[in-house]
Symmetry: C2
Subunit: 126 residues, 2 copies
């Protein structure tokens, strides 16, 4: 039984959840190589759709995601990766989670404080 990479042009959706708090931290995408590298290295590696290249989370920031467990969904086109998130936050905008905006009366509003200053961590890098 293998993941269904062909279904979505070679990618599966990867939901990243903090193994201790159960907070959902981010969503990324993995091609077959990114998934293999994630399993083999124990560090989450995505395929960046915008940059069209492999991207080990934390390669710029040092905020790596250490794999604790990996589950697959019924259709085998999405994975749920429980992680230990190194560093103060996974979001490149400085937040603990990329899901830092909540829908409030029809508007997306920032619902928490930044954990770090992204300019200090990422410098000029995207």
């Amino acid at each position: 039984m293998t993941l269904d990479f062909p279904k979505s042009s070679g990618l599966v959706t990867a939901v990243i959840q903090d193994h201790a708090t159960q907070r959902v931290l981010m969503v990324g995408y993995m091609n077959e190589e990114a998934f293999r590298l994630t399993v083999e290295s124990g560090f989450v590696t995505f395929y960046s759709r915008s940059r069209q290249k492999l991207w080990m989370k934390g390669e710029s920031s040092g905020h790596h995601l250490v794999v604790k467990s990996i589950a697959a969904d019924c259709d085998l086109d999405a994975v749920l990766v429980e992680v230990e998130a190194l560093g103060p936050g996974v979001c490149h905008e400085g937040y603990e989670s990329c899901f830092f905006r909540k829908l409030d009366s029809g508007e997306w509003k920032v619902s928490e404080d930044r954990r770090y200053n992204p300019a200090e961590v990422y410098g000029g890098k995207a």
Copy 2:
């Protein structure tokens, strides 16, 4: 500030999480209309990529997902929907969560018991 539907051919990724247990239950996709219906009705509605139509979760099974909160990610191309899941499980295969298989020594293994008999709930329907 609006969701970035054009980025992925009109769809955003929707992660569904149980608001009480914080378990991730499933991943689906929403087009703009599915998202609007989800917000307006308070019941999660997806866009089925395989059937190419709107799909209110539970329309066959009665296992609706009641919206508790909606968050958007930094790129505005994914949403995290916290829900109260009606019924014994969200997965059409009978499990509480669609993520019922875990990677164990390189093999996907079912890691929990079924909550209901899908043949009784769905009959001959997919």
